[in-house]
Amino acid sequence: MTPLDWLLEPLTFDFMTRALLVTAVAGVTCALLSCWLVQIGWALMGDAVSHAVLPGVAVSYILGWPFAVGAFIFGVGAVALIGGVRSTTRIKSDAAIGVVFTSLFALGLVIISVTPSQTDLGHILFGNVLGVSDSDILQVVVIGALTCAVLLAKRRDFTLLAFDRSHAGAIGINTRVLSALLLGLLALTVVVALQAVGIILVVAMLITPGATASLLTKRFERMLALAVLVTVAASVVGVYASFYLDVSTGGAVVLAQAAAFLLAYLFGGRGGVVTAALRRRRAVTA
């Protein structure tokens, strides 16, 4: 088998091209959003929303709705609940997030356990990208494209929000509306990504690309591009690995992202520990 065959053979299978498409769309959407989540410090918020959509997905399957509808309702609901708990009690932000998302996740588990249907908990939790249906693909592509379009169109506003909220307020930008928009896009992104890697690992897709890119550059626009690049590469590597090694697709994609993070951590221009050590050594000997 030539290397080209090795690359092309998986593509002759319909389920593989679908898996690649879904993983790439989900990956790009997550990669863009992750840059702001990492810079604002909303990683835990990503974790929360991704877990909180479980009851929404379960209810959607039971009622025969598109999965995106239920997931989005519960994603936005979780954000609203967290905000509500935080602003009406003395409970700190991380505790409010923890209480809300674990409660919703538990609600999802209970709903699924009492539903004698063919809903497969494993597929929802860990993803089933090799078995996505046509309607699932349509949802992923449409919602993913819409989310990416809004993120890119308003990228300068989101960066300003992340960097200097007070200036945004000083020039008359409504920072509450802007925050709410970003959180709404987070809910949509989770909806897209859970098809690819499942609820448990969505949070990895929402954090790792941005964290990796932030080690590599000092410019936000470049950070966006690098996060997307790294994620697309990791998606392809992960899907192929799952094909040839017969391992979990979501797991393989996230592991490939983790490997990219490790490389950036060791050798990255901005934060690389090996690079920095070499530079110190060179500085000493020079």
Partner: protein, 243 residues
């Protein structure tokens, strides 16, 4: 003078739960003047700034900026804010020019795509504060004084009439402080209004036309020479009136 004051605060009171952060504060700032807001930590300086910026809701009293509604003044790009150092993430992946460009956002369209006029404004502002050579640097790579000048440049690029500076001299060495004082003085002489909060008294007589001593209420408002007397400072900085 026919022009309304840039800042007119009357009877401003702000309560957090049961604590009174500000009590019946009156403040006026007219064009071309530099007013120094002096008080120790917890004296309500940040609350007063927050009220002017619309992020803190007053319990009582009124605020007028440029003679009108504060929200309208902010929307018209008339107000610029230089945050204190601790409030800024200096590792954030933005360059000096990126930050100054943020001053132009209020004048740009939906996506804030920079136009030639915006780029010119950024270049001019960086020239003005003497940071043209450092435009491409990541902001964390600058010294304390240079960092402050970046944010002042943002206000210049914004073409704001009113500059609010929160502790601009914290973490700034004496040489840089003189540069910043001269810059602010020149900006005021061109007709801008400047309100700075500080607990560093050294630069005050040279920079400020007027001083407000704040201790959750206004203890004194007047010329620096009259404000900086030992008795008044003792009152403002809590010797004997610790609460």
């Amino acid at each position: 003078m026919s022009e309304p004051p840039m800042i007119e605060v009357q009877g401003l009171t702000v309560r957090y739960d049961s604590v009174r952060a500000l009590s019946d504060v009156n403040l006026r700032l007219t064009a071309g003047r530099v007013v120094g807001l002096l008080g120790m930590n917890g004296s309500g300086k940040s609350t007063l700034f927050g009220s002017l910026m619309g992020s803190v809701r007053p319990s009582a009293g009124s605020i007028r900026l440029m003679g009108g509604d504060p929200g309208a003044a902010r929307k018209a790009n008339l107000v610029s804010y230089v945050p204190q150092s601790e409030a800024v993430d200096w590792d954030f992946p933005v360059s000096v020019a990126d930050v100054v460009m943020m001053g132009r956002y209020g004048r740009q369209g939906f996506t804030r795509r920079p136009r030639p006029a915006d780029r010119r404004a950024v270049t001019d502002a960086l020239d003005r504060v003497g940071l043209a050579d450092l435009a491409g640097r990541q902001i964390g790579e600058l010294s304390g004084g240079q960092r402050k000048r970046v944010f002042v440049a943002r206000g210049i690029a914004q073409e704001a009439s009113l500059l609010l500076l929160d502790e601009p001299f914290a973490g700034v060495d004496k040489g840089s402080e003189r540069t910043i004082v001269a810059l602010l003085r020149a900006l005021a002489d061109e007709g801008r209004g400047i309100l700075i909060s500080t607990h560093d008294l050294a630069g005050v007589p040279e920079l400020c036309d007027e001083v407000v001593l704040l201790q959750n209420r206004v203890l004194f408002q007047g010329p620096p020479a009259e404000a900086l007397t030992p008795e008044r400072l003792a009152l403002a900085f809590g010797l004997g009136v610790e609460q």
